[in-house]
């Protein structure tokens, strides 16, 4: 469908009375409230946050201009560097593990499996849970003393130690584990849809040529799945940057600041440490990070549809 030709374009333009004009304006009138809400509450608010990041705001917003002061303070906070470092560790491991496990499960499920209808929902149900529930469940499961550690010791592995939740060097990995548990089934569903969309003629042709299963996957199927890889990466990167609830529920950002992420940094500096300007500056940095990933993606997707 062409972008500019609408269903109403054919309407004759002569003899337009007030009623006609109202009728023609009606669609835009219907859309207007939603668009106005988005303009004000999304774009207006972003500008407002941006403004605050250039002020001296502490517990309440004030509008005394302070230049890049808040940004300088932000980037001199060890906590912020901790948050960025943690986001890098979490983001890379989370995306890699989700894609590896998701792809593996999708390929396994695609082998004409009996009971696929039972297995698929099992891999996907964590996605229906809230991050707070996931965090609560894993906090208990990994509880040093009563959780996994205790179970392994009861099984006879007396020296088994698993204290990652309270170990400041390892705590960030518990967030990776819980995050991967929650989202990998979703990635599986994306890959499975991709696999089912591949034309089986291509595969048959390769088999006739005597290609082995492994090389069919490596040389034909995986390259065809490239768009799915891209989508999965974008979605996961976006989820990683926004991750907040899971950290709060699982570790509360601790022990100490060991699992601080930009999202928890922004919240605590704004609402509990009364450094609103620094909090706003960190929010602006988060927005820029997400925009750098999402805008090119949306742009190419919207443009592709035009052709």
């Amino acid at each position: 469908m062409n972008g500019s030709s609408s269903a109403v374009a054919a309407r004759p333009q002569a003899h337009r009375g007030l009623a006609d004009r109202l009728r023609d304006g009606l669609p835009r009138l219907v859309l207007a409230p939603s668009f106005a809400l988005i303009l004000v509450f999304v774009y207006g608010f972003i500008l407002w946050t941006l403004t605050l990041s250039f002020t001296t705001s502490k517990i309440l917003p004030v509008y005394t201009f302070a230049g890049f002061d808040a940004y300088i303070r932000l980037w001199s906070q060890p906590n912020w560097h901790m948050a960025l470092g943690n986001l890098a560790i979490f983001g890379v491991l989370y995306m890699t593990a989700c894609i590896a496990i998701g792809l593996l499960l999708a390929i396994l499920l695609d082998q004409r499996i009996r009971g696929e209808g039972v297995l698929r929902p099992i891999f996907l149900y964590p996605m229906a849970l809230s991050f707070v529930v996931t965090g609560t469940a894993w906090k208990w499961f990994l509880n040093p003393g009563l959780g996994l550690e205790n179970t392994m010791r009861n099984l006879g592995w007396e020296s088994f130690t698993f204290d990652w939740l309270v170990n400041k060097d390892m705590a960030i990995y518990t967030i990776v584990i819980a995050g991967v548990w929650q989202a990998s089934g979703f990635v599986m569903a994306m890959f499975l849809a991709g696999l089912r969309g591949i034309d089986s003629e291509i595969i048959k042709a390769a088999q006739i040529d005597g290609a082995s299963t492994v090389s069919i996957y490596r040389r034909i199927i995986l390259p065809l799945l490239r768009p799915v890889f891209l989508s999965a990466l974008i979605v996961l990167a976006h989820m990683a940057i926004k991750s907040y609830d899971l950290v709060i529920a699982l570790t509360g950002g601790g022990p100490g600041n060991a699992t601080e992420l930009p999202s928890t940094f922004m919240y605590s500096y704004t609402f509990t440490r009364n450094q609103m300007a620094v909090g706003s500056a960190s929010a602006v940095m988060m927005l820029m990070g997400i925009a750098a990933i999402i805008v090119p993606y949306l742009y190419s997707e919207l443009r592709e549809k035009d052709r």
Binding site: W138, S200, A249
Partner: protein, 293 residues
């Protein structure tokens, strides 16, 4: 495509099948374990939890922890259980889902069947709004809700969820209506049907699947939201997720793991229920929200 058929010897083919089923089964067990542990822990007594094994089945299953979580557990300073917060969530989610879905349907209708110059920019701006980190609007929103007198209220949360859900609901309906034949709209117009008549009589009756997808997507997202809840309504008006976090992370008194787990399961039940009865639509919503365009 569904799997290249194996062209190897029957023996190694059978070994491969065993490996595939074995691997899938192991993964399934791993994915189910946290849910199993949550459920069994919620049915145990505290003594059994402290003295026993997390993986063991409860010796004397009891719903005590569930009743305590629902009606007696202490959240903050009040000890009335999570039931009040459960209702808060329900009172928030029903209007927020209904309003955002209806607006999304109308927006999608306008953006596909009544296009105007600049419709693309409008849609692009609504789409980008889906992805912003909400931290970027948190402070202004808190101020505005305060000015409107809607802080710590369900009405305030409904407003917030409607606004920040609009991008997704519009996206869902736009993509669905894009495939709807223009000819039907045109012939209805020739018959004299107006804007709303065409919407009610022609588009809505055939929108069943996308309405289900949108409602489920919005319901899951809004029910599971934590950031908006904790930022704008952390007191008596808090939603279920915030209350659950307060309950679990409180450091006063004896830690009642069984009550924590019961509360977590109760918080998860509505979305799990929706997932079990309408999983197909749930997945479609996720995919539509992920693979744009």
């Amino acid at each position: 495509m569904s799997a290249p058929a194996d062209s190897v010897s029957p023996g190694s083919a059978r070994a491969a099948r065993y490996f595939i089923y074995g691997a899938l089964l192991v993964f399934a067990l791993v994915y189910l374990t946290p849910l199993y542990v949550m459920l069994t822990t919620s049915l145990k007594s505290l003594d059994e939890i402290r003295g026993g094994d997390m993986m063991a089945l409860p010796v004397a299953p009891s719903l005590d922890a569930w009743f305590r979580a629902w009606g007696e557990a202490c959240i903050g300073v009040t000890c009335g259980g999570i039931k009040g917060y459960f209702w808060n969530s329900l009172k928030m989610v029903v209007p927020a889902v209904a309003i955002s879905t209806l607006l999304g349907a109308l927006n999608g209708y306008v953006l596909t069947k009544w296009r105007f110059p600049g419709h693309k920019i409008v849609f692009g701006m609504m789409l980008f709004a889906c992805f912003i980190p909400f931290q970027a609007v948190l402070i202004p929103m808190a101020r505005v809700l305060g000015i409107l007198g809607m802080s710590n209220s369900t009405a305030g949360l409904v407003l917030v969820h409607v606004i920040y859900g609009l991008g997704f609901t519009t996206l869902f309906f736009r993509n669905y209506y894009e495939a709807f034949p223009d000819e039907l709209i045109k012939s209805a117009m020739i018959d004299g049907a107006g804007f709303f008549r065409i919407f009610w009589r022609i588009l809505l009756p055939s929108s069943g699947p996308i309405i289900v997808v949108t409602v489920i997507y919005q319901f899951t997202n809004i029910w599971n939201d934590f950031l908006f809840g904790v930022s704008f309504a952390s007191g008596e008006g808090a939603p279920m997720t915030v209350a659950l976090n307060n309950l679990v992370s409180s450091s006063t008194g004896v830690k009642e793991y069984n009550v924590d787990m019961a509360a977590a399961v109760i918080a998860a039940l509505p979305t799990l229920f929706v997932y079990i009865v309408a999983g197909r639509y749930f997945v479609r919503g996720l995919m539509a929200g992920a693979v744009k365009g």
